[in-house]
Symmetry: C2
Subunit: 217 residues, 2 copies
């Protein structure tokens, strides 16, 4: 697959079937992930792959509680605003995000493979999210969908206990990526055009080009 | 370019020539970047492209001071250990990292294009580093090398003043990516094999596969 197709179509893919991810596909995903850069080439990362149905079953209710906490906390003002004006574009996007996230929570046990990523000495996240994103792009090239979610941070102690992650070695949980074969289509996500979020030389100066439509395909 | 070639060969590329990056290439790089995912699809990002030689010239000494501070601080113990035992593999890697980073600092003014990335409401970095890494992968597909560096954080106030970035809107500096056409070759970086940093279902349980050589090409 062309790199641009992967970069443009690796969107959050939450609707999946129950097919397991073959071991050789998992192997190619992880091998691609560890080619990503880290500060000082420290490679201070660990990846925990979960496919055991018993553990996935225990994670499901935990995930749903975390998502409920997210809606009741960080997103409460946005959701209340959306409910007050349900027909605006922002509100529709909020409801769409919420519906999709709830779908994943309701079906969390069904994702055949979860990847938990951990980093040490990485205050910015700059040494772990490139590797996570590489794993998702490599999965895309294999026809495997994925989503990056960090809400399990709300129940971090419970999750670390369940996965038997040591708490005294400085491994910080960066995110969980559920993988699965999608039931829907891959598409290019809509985004605010790059020139609206870009500047040239100093903040507020136009970047010097405009982009009316995605430049791929 | 195949996505796996990009994922495997987008290594830190610091030795570059003076050729400018054409505007249409910059445009494709940024358009690919904004296809990356963000939490809640918030797209709370801003990208500042710097190509003005006067600003690059002012950033050079600032960058060199930041890197000197990094060696004297965060890396001091590692460097002292390496100097005490200069022939070990770890020490050789430390010297190699330091030499390459110093090269970039010494030549900072020469990179024809710098991309500064900023994020809002992104405590983990999970909503900005995928976009930064997408920009670097998209650049790779164009034959443009890049490196992600965050050391300008050591002189954040000075940098924000120079670039006229507002300090009261919650935009956090996530990193700077110097771009340029490389003088050297693209190669697959050596990494600790994935199976040595991976676990299955619970921490410490073997992941179930081994990887002796990079799985690409």
């Amino acid at each position: 697959m062309d790199v641009r197709e992967a970069l443009y179509t690796t969107r959050a893919m939450r609707r999946i079937n129950d097919d397991p991810i073959p071991m050789d596909v998992q192997r190619r995903i992880l091998d691609a992930a560890v080619r990503a850069p880290t500060g000082g080439n420290a490679q201070n990362w660990q990846f925990l792959l979960v496919d055991d149905p018993a553990i996935r079953g225990q994670l499901g209710p935990i995930y749903r509680q975390c998502l409920a906490d997210l809606w009741d906390g960080f997103y409460k003002a946005r959701i209340d605003a959306a409910l007050a004006e349900p027909d605006s574009d922002d509100s529709k996007q909020m409801f769409s995000v919420q519906k999709s996230a709830n779908y994943m929570a309701d079906n969390f046990e069904r994702y055949p493979l979860l990847m938990f990523a951990f980093a040490q000495y990485d205050p910015t996240g700059g040494s772990i999210y490139p590797a996570i994103w590489s794993a998702m792009l490599a999965a895309r090239a294999e026809g495997v969908g994925s989503t990056l979610t960090s809400v399990l941070l709300f129940q971090l102690d419970t999750v670390l206990d369940l996965l038997q992650v040591p708490k005294d070695q400085g491994w910080n949980f960066a995110g969980c990526v559920p993988f699965g074969y999608p039931t829907g289509r891959w598409g290019v996500p809509k985004r605010r055009p790059a020139h609206e979020v870009a500047h040239r030389n100093t903040w507020g100066t136009p970047v010097g080009f405009t982009i009316d439509e995605p430049l791929w395909p």
